[in-house]
């Protein structure tokens, strides 16, 4: 399947709940084999949008198109629904064993016994829960149950996978282990995925594109780099806690201080990840300091230093957001007074520095 093929599309989508229009979206597309992250504050309609796209909620207006064809109701919708799978925040396992749960969707589709067994075995193993097959679903821990609910979705080999905050409500180590497994499954299957999350790091690590939903409206769609570095407005910026998103590989490691190669640049960051690990760096805009050259190369504890030209100036009240082209764009937030004193205008050459301790390293 080509990457630029539209899998799912919403047009003029309107969802009304309790007399209020909670979703109003002129257009939203999900491309084949992409992971689309939907982020937004509580009550912004993320789950409602997901349910509409997954054909589990009838919209008040507009249409959902599957591979270019509008979705009809009734038996046709059922046939389509059987190409989708949904994993909710709550694990929602049915009574019975883990095996019963994982095979249920196949039984509902009338899949033959042999194939059912083969597929269920494969996905139980893939999520590391083969040993739990005979356990009663209600006796599982939160992390185990979540693995079952993921296996139950993947066993269906869906064309589109929908996830509603799947990793919330898990404690941190459980969550990290599951995220790692899930990510490798996702990379391997390349299944088209729509994922609702409120966790910025999850979106950065997993999503190919991110849609920001606020008050039922899509405010911005783009790559994680675009959305987190260049939020369209103040409100989006405040919600996503804007920062620079850089992708790279750990190139050196020494006692908890890692060097990460981003293109031709090398940055120091506090992290104990091994050499060769693919990582995403997150750096808050306000943690980037700009200095005017010529600057003496005095030793400073700000380990990362870049030279670049100001290519964008965006005033924000008492502060100014500046984009510096250092081979890649780096965004810094400085006070208006600094910007005036330093005459930070378009084309000005500046040094950008940031401390190794200010860089958040996320394993990809």
């Amino acid at each position: 399947m080509s990457q630029d093929h539209i899998m799912l599309e919403a047009r003029d989508l309107s969802v009304v709940l309790g007399g209020h229009e909670v979703i109003a979206i002129p257009s939203l597309t999900v491309m084949s084999n992409e992971v689309l992250g939907i982020i937004g504050p509580n009550g912004s309609g993320k789950t409602t949008l997901l349910l509409s796209l997954a054909l589990l909620l009838r919209p008040a207006g507009g249409s959902i198109l599957y591979q270019g064809q509008p979705v009809a109701n009734g038996v046709a919708a059922l046939r389509l629904r059987r190409r989708f799978a949904v994993v909710f925040q709550e694990t929602l396992l049915l009574s019975g064993s883990v095996w019963d749960n994982v095979t249920l969707g196949l039984h509902l589709r009338g899949v033959g016994k042999e194939e059912t067994v083969a597929r269920a075995r494969k996905w139980l193993a893939r999520f590391g829960i083969a040993a739990l097959a005979k356990r009663q679903a209600r006796t599982l821990s939160g992390g185990e149950a979540k693995r079952v609910s993921l296996a139950r979705a993947f066993v269906l080999q869906p064309e589109v996978l929908f996830l509603d905050e799947p990793f919330t409500a898990l404690d941190s180590p459980t969550r990290q282990a599951l995220l790692d497994d899930f990510e490798s499954v996702l990379r391997e299957t390349r299944v088209t995925t729509v994922m609702v999350t409120h966790d910025r790091n999850e979106a950065i690590v997993l999503a190919d594109r991110v849609a920001v939903l606020m008050d039922g409206r899509i405010r911005q769609v783009g790559t994680p780099e675009e959305v987190f570095s260049y939020p369209v407005d103040e409100e989006v910026a405040r919600f996503v806690e804007a920062g620079n998103v850089l992708r790279g590989v750990v190139s050196a490691q020494s006692g908890g201080l890692a060097t990460v190669a981003v293109g031709d640049h090398h940055f120091d960051a506090v992290s104990d990840l091994a050499v060769g690990t693919r990582v995403t760096l997150f750096l808050r805009h306000e943690d980037v300091t700009l200095t005017l050259p010529p600057t003496q190369s005095a030793l400073t504890s700000a380990r990362n230093r870049l030279v670049g030209k100001v290519v964008k100036v965006f005033p924000l009240g008492s502060q100014v957001r500046l984009t510096v082209d250092c081979g890649f764009p780096l965004v810094a937030l400085v006070t208006r007074r600094s910007a005036e004193e330093m005459e930070l205008i378009l084309g000005k050459t500046v040094h950008a520095t940031f401390k190794a301790t200010a860089v958040h390293v996320l394993r990809e």
Binding site: L56, L104, L108
Partner: protein, 232 residues
Amino acid sequence: MDLILQGIVQAFQLLVRGDPEMLRVAALSLAVSLGATAISLVLGVASGTAIGLTKFMGRRFLVSLINTGMGSPPVVVGLIVTILLWRNGPLGALGLLYTPFAMVIAQVIISLPIVTGFTIASIQQVDPKLRLQILSLGASRFQMLWLFLKETRLPLLAAVMAGFGAIISEVGASMMVGGNIPGQTRVLTTAIVMETSKGNFALAIALGVILMVLVFLVNMALTIIQQRSRAR
């Protein structure tokens, strides 16, 4: 004092040797109440599921009507059924009054609101997202309903138990529409009242023990079911 001790001793003799009169009364009581429960199960679960899963005008009113039905006195049900079945009443031609069928009718009317009300309540307690989850697994509407009821089977069993518990120990309506005719419509409760008033404590105590055991079993089952369904 002697009379009472004697009564208790005789009661256990009746129980041990399986007194035929005692057994006949207990068997009829079970038959009538189980029959009524079975009918209530079918009607109550069907209508309770329909009411619990759908939204329509007047739904609240219907639910409060059912709740009122759950609390209405059995003697009033007995009165109404008696009037309907009275020899020159609307259904008098059927000749059902003072037969076990009349008792089943009365007990269905008593237990139906209980089963329906419990069904609605237990369906509303299930996470509404479970329906969506089942649908998203690829269930048709009919498959969804079946899986959904399977999920709520423990609370539904509790509903049935509560209905059975209410009618097996009910006395007023059974007496009115059954007439407490020996060998024909005499059930546990009406027999206990009758034998007690005659001072025939031996049989009354024996029947009382059977009734208590039945009610205890129902209560125990109910408790276990409620604890299991809460544990989930």
